[in-house]
Amino acid sequence: MTQIVDRRLNGKNKSAVNRQKFLRRFRKQIKKSIENVIAERSVTDLDKGEKVSIPQKDTSEPFFHHGQGGHRDMVHPGNKEFHQGDTIPRPQSGAQGNGSEASDSGEGEDDFIFELSREEFLQFFFEDLELPNLVKTKLSTITETKKVRAGHTSEGIPSNINVVRSLTGAMGRRIALRSPYKKELQKIDAELNDLLKRHNESDQIIIDLRDRIKHLKNKIRRIPFIDSFDLRYDNRINQPIPTTQAVMFCIMDVSGSMGREEKDIAKRFFMLLYLFLTRTYEKIHIVFISHHTVASEVDEETFFYSRETGGTVVSSALKLMASIIQDRYSSNDWNIYAAQASDGDNWHNDSKICINLLNKNIMPYMQYYSYIEITPDQHQNLWEEYTRIQTNWDNFAMKKIEKISDIYPVFRKLFEKHDV
């Protein structure tokens, strides 16, 4: 007797361990590939898996085998025109033989391409930023909850007593408990009326009936108006709330002094902020404002890849931002975040104007404002002025960044704030 075993339910994901080992083994190559990917990805496009390609020769495992050369006899099928003794020019590298020989030119070997899941991708992304584990888990699961009503319970605290509900219940109970007595009472009443036509008040049978009526009325009277099990309490449970909407301002200096590398750092920072916001908000608008001496709202492509020349007037961007907030994102409905990246250069008279703008027109509406200065050099005058903002406003963070791994400290501040 043979048996058919249904194995579909067990042993799923048996290769998960092997897959992890594979990813660990080729960490370096995968990270390199991911770096390229990030450069190509849009800021809003971070939260999904990715195709990764690593060079085939890195993943191959060596074994002893013959190389080209020497004497070889082979049989192939499908002869059409050859006769014994014919000669054929030798095909260029590798094409002859049974097809399994790798070409010796070393070029043109296919890359090994595979798909990373979203989790795996983020893991590699975070790894690069040197985020500690705590933040990683926070990033992947931030849910706010709200107490919502969820019907009624029979247990609770006095302050939650629902009066109407409790009394309705009590009334129902009273009616229900009274009804057998009432029915009997009616019956006896009818009987009494009937008997009174033929008997005197003093007859024993009438007295008995009167006693019975009195007894029943007593019983009815003794049914309590409200009892402890009538009490109903409002029930409230925690429900995760999709925090509604946020807008994220990305402000970047695109003047000549910001090179490709600086912009790349800025991009990582914006990405991280966006990623954080997607954990908390359902709907996120992103506004890209680039500025040199004048500011303009641009699309992402232009934002990261256009290059301008000339000086820098930061206040132009802040002005534009303030007016956009006024027009489109009145702060009652929107949670506003801003990230500003710059190399710190500013026209020196302008920094004072910036401070004013921030203090009056921007910071009061902000959930959080972060400023990163991407420069290996000394702080510039914008930094000095911004330091004053930082002392005035809790929700302002600033940090100097020299390399990608510096991005994290700014973020830690962001998360500390959310802890309280």
Binding site: K14, H66, G70, I88
Partner: protein, 505 residues
């Protein structure tokens, strides 16, 4: 067959499978198979999902296996191909074990399930049970136990010595796994319990043996002779992994055990590598024969047969050498056609067949095929049974590619003067012994720097691939001292040397 009844009702009209229908088909297939005299291990059919099938594919078809990144790589690769639809997972995975486990994938239609049952659970199964290589070299009753032992042992090592250390050893062993087989000596049977019991003893004993080889206190006799020192080992050893397991001076006992595990598993697969054409040919022949018998008995519908034939035709297709789809000779095609051809030669021999294959022409086909299945491997099977008719059908031609000539020469084609040559060339093509470089352990410099010398004896002047250097690195890691690989030509002259020192930790 005598109990074939016409006017049977087909077992099913649908192509959706159910457990009940699979069972019904299986009963019929089993009956037909045993009527044809197929002797098999008991069958265990297992329904698995596509993902599990990919799991199985990526761990070389074994139901349990130790974990290593290379299997992860295979899985990623298989998954990618499957998602792109480049690869149907329709075909079988069957395990050479007792009972014989055959996997049925849930996505398959009912005709495909029946095909897989006939192909894997009866075709391959009977081959595993009866072919001389399998009966001599593998132990179907204990392989699952052994794999389980290996998996647990390696997991234990990982937790005790760290994943990286274990991975390093495994990487190195994998690089040598084709050189971890005994070609002439039957290995002892595997069994979980004995393996566990012996493992401790063995590790203690081995360590003492290694010490023997590296004894530093000089013997008296050796001092007074100045003749050339005897080589160690005195005879070259072909099983490099075995030699390392027994003699590598610096390996820890657990590392030796891992070397042994890789070696044992490689040994288990060795017969499969030698019988691909026969094994697939045999299984394909029988699924074809059995399902046709089902149809003749009226047990399956025309639609069933159409679906089966379409799949069957794809499997046995052989593109020509100039086709973009050509990737060598398709073992299913060659094997199936040779098996069918043997039946033809037995039943309706032509004069040509009587001349070329006098022994089998006109004999009982089933008996002849069983004889062939039991007693041959690919190399000898082709040498013995490839008929001129089949060479014409396949339009086979042999070429000679010699790097001393500027051009490739067509040495023989499918004509009277060429049959013999084509047949022997094709047979040689399946000889693992000449396809793999001949590399043996040649010497250990026991009195000097303890370096290990391997010798590659060139065959037909074929050089080693450059990647040999990478492999030598792995050998050096296992050996722990310098390793040298010499290529020698027919005149025993050393023409190329690869050298490597072990990594410093």
């Amino acid at each position: 067959m005598q109990n074939s009844i016409k006017n049977n009702m087909p077992i099913s009209q649908t192509s959706e499978w159910t457990f009940d229908l699979i069972e019904k088909y299986h009963v019929e297939i089993e009956r037909i198979a045993s009527n044809f005299g197929l002797s098999t291990y008991p069958v265990q059919l297992e329904i698995i999902s596509a993902e599990q099938m990919m799991d199985a594919y990526s761990s070389v078809g074994m139901p349990v296996g130790y974990s290593h990144w290379t299997f992860g790589k295979e899985f990623v690769n298989t998954e990618k191909n499957y998602k792109r639809g480049q690869m149907g997972l329709a075909y079988e995975i069957v395990i050479n074990s007792d009972p014989c486990i055959a996997y049925l994938m849930e996505e398959n239609s009912l005709p495909m399930q029946a095909l897989v049952i006939a192909h894997a659970a009866y075709g391959h199964n009977s081959f595993f049970k009866n072919n001389y290589l399998f009966t001599t070299w593998t132990s179907a009753d204990s392989i699952i136990d052994y794999l389980l032992f290996a998996k647990n042992y390696i997991a234990k090592c990982e937790s005790r010595y760290g994943e990286e250390a274990v991975e390093n050893i495994l990487d190195s062993c994998h690089a040598l796994k084709n050189f971890g087989v005994d070609r002439y000596k039957r290995p002892p049977k595997l069994s979980l319990q004995e393996e566990k019991n012996r493992q401790q003893e063995r590790s203690d004993y081995l360590q003492s043996q290694v010490n023997e080889l590296w004894r530093t206190i000089p013997d008296k006799e050796q001092n007074n002779e100045n003749s050339t020192p005897a080589r160690y080992p005195s005879e070259p050893q072909e099983n490099i992994l075995y030699f390392i397991e027994k003699h590598a001076p610096l390996l820890e006992p657990w590392q030796r055990e891992i070397v042994r595990i890789v070696r044992k598993i490689s040994q288990y697969f060795y017969p499969q590598r030698q019988t691909q054409v026969m094994n697939e040919g045999w299984a394909t022949f029988w699924h074809y024969t059995i399902l046709n018998q089902l149809y003749d008995e009226g047990l399956c519908t025309d639609g069933f047969m159409m679906e089966f034939l379409q799949s069957h035709t794809n499997v046995v297709a052989q593109p020509g050498f100039d086709s973009p789809h050509y990737s060598g000779i398709n073992p299913y095609a060659l094997g199936f056609n040779m098996m069918t051809d043997i039946r033809r030669i037995c039943e309706k021999p032509t004069n040509e067949d009587r001349e070329w294959l006098p022994d089998i022409a006109g004999s009982d086909w089933n008996e002849t095929m069983h004889f062939a299945m039991r007693n041959f491997k690919d190399e000898s099977f082709i040498g013995q049974y490839l008929s001129p008719k089949l060479m014409r059908d396949f339009k086979l031609f042999a070429i000679t590619d010699d790097d001393r000539n500027r051009k490739i020469e067509v040495s023989a084609i499918h004509d009277n003067s060429g049959y013999q040559n084509v047949r022997s060339t094709l047979s040689e093509q399946y000889n693992l012994g000449s396809n793999e470089p001949n590399i043996q352990v040649y010497n250990v410099d026991a009195k000097g720097d303890r370096s290990l010398t391997l010798r590659h004896t060139q065959y037909l002047r074929r050089p080693l691939d450059k990647s040999a250097y990478e492999v030598i690195k792995h050998v050096a890691r296992l050996w722990g001292f310098d390793v040298k690989l010499e290529s020698i030509d027919e005149k025993e002259k050393i023409i190329k040397t690869f050298e490597c020192s072990p990594p410093k930790y």
